[in-house]
């Protein structure tokens, strides 16, 4: 009797959580992230950004939504109509579905039941994520193809090549994390980081960089926004989309951004854990609820996305492919070997990971210093080669 009651209430909570996620994530995207993006970019670009609708522009999302919903929904006469309709749906549904396995925080007590802050903790969580997010790619490819527009077609082709290639390094970078956790469950990955007292970003520094670069490429964001490429392909795959369908693509892109950030936080940055759980002096950070930590970390990643967008020019198509195939994939493979060795040679696993962290950290600092030095030298050389007086 008691079990049945528990099962029922768990089921109810699952529904509640699904509804909450599906209702809040688009709202968060529309109101918080888009506004944050525009205001932050405005700040970085010496301008104001939207500040007219509501106090400080907070209602801008509502205005945009109204605009998109009331716009005419146009389907080109020679488009492949069914696919043209399906593509934006394919872009959004997988992105929202993927949210199901993200653990937003530790279980919380509501009334008498412990409610976990994830919809489902499946034992193949990471695999499920990779599988479901790769479906979203079809939305873009099919959207580009079905519009029967040459620019859209080029955008679709670009995304077909780009997104499919970048899934390889992304998957490979996550493999090295699997070697550390021996579990695909996202909840288990966080628990494991809690037990080890070590965020996986330290032993998985290389993996994290590969993951995040591929993640930015997967979500079509700068500097990898080639399928859209406003200035080259006139928005590429979504040129022929308007109104609600366009809004769906938009929502899909931003939700994918959230997913990439959530996975990065969960896998590499300890999910809901407070920073440095093993350092006693920082114990007081545990006062802040786990879910808040999680959201804060995701926020940092979203900020990173925005920062990239306002800093970098866009890669060219062939350069992008070269980066993926010639650099990221070999690097990811080498990283797997390194992590496997660290896990194998030190039976306690944790010691091996700590050693790996130190080595990779040192390597990273050295590389960073070297690249800065090289940049400074190149700059000096360039300036020395051109003795153009600017005074007088």
């Amino acid at each position: 009797m008691r079990d049945a009651g528990y099962a029922m209430s768990a089921e109810v909570w699952t529904y509640v959580k699904v509804v909450l996620l599906v209702a809040t994530v688009p709202a968060i995207v529309g109101f918080v992230i888009v506004l944050a993006e525009r205001r932050i970019m405005g700040f970085m670009q010496a301008r104001l950004g939207p500040n007219r609708v509501g106090p400080e522009g907070v209602l801008q999302g509502l205005a945009d939504l109204l605009k998109l919903v009331t716009k005419e929904d146009i389907t080109p006469a020679r488009a492949e109509k069914a696919v043209h309709f399906l593509a934006p749906v394919l872009a959004v549904i997988p992105a929202l579905t993927a949210l199901a396995v993200i653990p937003f925080g530790p279980p919380v007590r509501i009334g008498k039941t412990m409610v976990p802050l994830w919809v489902a903790d499946i034992n193949i969580g990471l695999l499920f994520l990779l599988a479901i997010t790769s479906i979203g790619v079809y939305g873009i490819i099919l959207g580009g193809w079905s519009s029967n527009n040459k620019y859209s077609l080029l955008g679709g082709l670009r995304s077909a090549a780009q997104l499919v290639s970048y899934e390889v390094p992304m998957g490979l970078s996550l493999v090295s994390v699997l070697l550390m956790t021996r579990s695909l469950s996202l909840v288990e990955i966080v628990r494991r980081q809690e037990a080890t007292g070590l965020w996986f970003v330290f032993p998985g520094l290389v993996a994290f960089f590969i993951y995040f670069v591929s993640g930015v490429a997967e979500t079509n964001r700068n500097p990898f926004d080639l399928p859209e490429a406003e200035s080259e392909l006139v928005s590429g795959f979504n040129t022929e989309y308007s109104g609600v369908k366009f809004a769906f693509f938009f929502l899909g892109e931003y939700t994918a951004m959230i997913i990439i950030s959530c996975v990065a936080v969960t896998v590499f940055f300890g999910g809901w854990l407070a920073p440095f759980p093993s350092v006693p002096a920082l114990r007081f950070l545990g006062v802040v609820p786990g879910a808040i930590w999680f959201l804060a970390k995701v926020g940092v990643f979203i900020f990173g996305y925005i920062w990239f967008r306002s800093t970098f020019p866009r890669y060219r198509f062939d350069q992008l492919m070269a980066l993926g195939w010639k650099w990221l994939i070999p690097l990811a493979l080498a990283n797997i070997v390194a992590v496997a060795l660290a896990v194998l040679l030190f039976p306690g696993r944790t010691t091996g990971l700590v050693w790996l962290s130190w080595i990779l950290g040192g390597f990273f600092v050295a590389m960073f210093a070297l690249s800065k030095l090289r940049q400074a030298l190149a700059r000096r050389e360039r300036l020395a080669a051109e003795p153009h007086p600017v005074e007088g």
Binding site: Q45, A46, S231, R316, F317
Partner: protein, 407 residues
């Protein structure tokens, strides 16, 4: 050579007619049905695609249309189609008196109106043989260099956006805004300035103008450092520009390319130095050149030119003394029946006016040598073999203004 007989010609005409009939039929068939994979083309059949680039494309900087033949994204052929903004400016010059021609020049290169005015006035002054007072010369140089700065800032911002770097655009336009304010204060207009007259200038400077410009120019090098920080050593920016659209100095000369394109290829040719007009020969500045002739070098040359412009403005402000601003020009301008060519270094290259006078108060013929139009000719040569993404960079690096291309 084989002589074509009548039969052969009529046969060729028939063949042609049959070919077009077939094409028309195929076209009608294609239009009536949704295009599904037709039987003729297997999966591995390589097809050229014709891509219509512009005239309403965000990166053609106006109404340039390019008909591209592409294999995937590689450009096999790029054919510019110009004339969407043709307003018959050269013909308009013939229908109006000399002073009435100046506002028309504003609308040619509309991001650099002052230099257009200057070149036009220079041609007419050469016909008349008027002496320009020193103060007017200095102010003209001042306006020219401010205009060069604003034109280069527009180029920097837009070509940055073309390659996906959005932020430099806002920085560049922030500074350009200040320059436009200076122009507004001087002549009341911001874009179509109409700020020069035959024989001198329409107005003297407003009080405090020179101080404000001096302040702006003193601040400018640090602003240019900001743009360079974002682009010059940026890995992606270099990847997108180094080795893209390489052209040698010899080829530049053959094509008649001038301005930063020529100097980016290593030839130190600047009319301000080579054939000094106004008081450029007294001013101390460097003509920046680079050797590789690619998009990156042209970028560096333009950025360096902005620094040099600031330097010229500083010197002009120092030399400025009170005096006349208009030379002795007759009330009705009736130059002797002669032909002259006068040219200046506009931000985009050599801007020249070839003026034929027949002794009346209207020019008999006024021909313009527009740098944008002539530089644009090299685009098919530059674009061949590059990707569509590079085409955008190339249009940016040529720095065209369609008002000047089409006139």
């Amino acid at each position: 050579m084989e002589q074509l007989s009548d039969e052969k010609i009529s046969q060729a005409e028939k063949d042609e007619a049959a070919y077009f009939a077939e094409r028309a039929k195929a076209g009608a068939a294609a239009a009536s049905s949704v295009p599904v994979a037709s039987g003729d083309h297997t999966l591995f059949d390589v097809q050229e695609m014709e891509l219509n680039f512009g005239p309403q494309h965000p990166s053609t900087h106006g109404v340039l249309r390019l008909v591209l033949k592409v294999d995937g994204e590689r450009i096999l052929e790029a054919k510019p189609d110009v004339g969407y903004l043709h307003r018959g400016t050269e013909k308009l010059f013939e229908t109006e008196t000399y002073p009435m021609g100046i506002p028309h020049t504003d609308r040619m290169d509309y991001v650099a109106a002052a230099t257009n005015n200057h070149a036009f006035c220079l041609a007419v002054e050469k016909l008349l043989g008027v002496e320009i007072p020193r103060r007017a010369q200095l102010i003209r140089v001042l306006l020219d260099e401010l205009q060069r700065l604003s034109s280069h800032l527009v180029w920097l911002g837009t070509s940055g956006i073309d390659l996906g770097a959005v932020t430099p655009f806002w920085y560049a336009f922030r500074e350009r805004e200040q320059i436009l304010d200076f122009f507004e204060e001087y002549c009341g207009a911001r874009l179509t300035l109409n700020c020069m007259r035959i024989g001198g200038l329409p107005f003297d400077l407003t009080p405090g103008w020179t101080e404000r410009v001096a302040e702006f120019v003193a601040d400018l090098p640090s602003r240019i450092d900001d743009y360079e920080q974002l682009l010059t050593d940026n890995r992606i920016w270099k990847k997108r520009t180094v080795g893209v659209g390489v052209i040698s100095a010899e080829e530049c000369v053959e094509w008649g390319l001038t301005g930063p394109i020529l100097r980016g290829s290593g030839l130190e040719w600047d009319l301000r130095r080579a054939r000094p007009y106004e008081c450029y020969d007294e001013l101390n500045f460097v003509v920046p050149t680079r050797q590789n002739g690619d998009t990156y070098d042209r970028y560096i040359v333009r950025v360096q030119e902005m620094r040099q412009s600031a330097r010229i403005i500083r010197q002009c402000l120092e030399k400025l003394e009170p005096g006349e601003i208009r030379g002795k020009v007759p009330r009705v301008i009736k130059p002797p029946a002669e032909e002259v060519y006068a040219s200046i270094e506009s931000p985009k290259g050599e801007l020249g006016f070839y003026c034929v006078s027949n002794g009346t108060n209207k020019p008999y013929r006024m021909h313009v040598r527009p740098p944008s139009f002539i530089n644009l000719q090299a685009l098919p040569r530059l674009a061949k073999g590059h990707l569509v993404s590079d085409l955008v960079a190339l249009i940016g690096t040529i720095d065209i203004v369609l008002g000047e291309v089409d006139r």
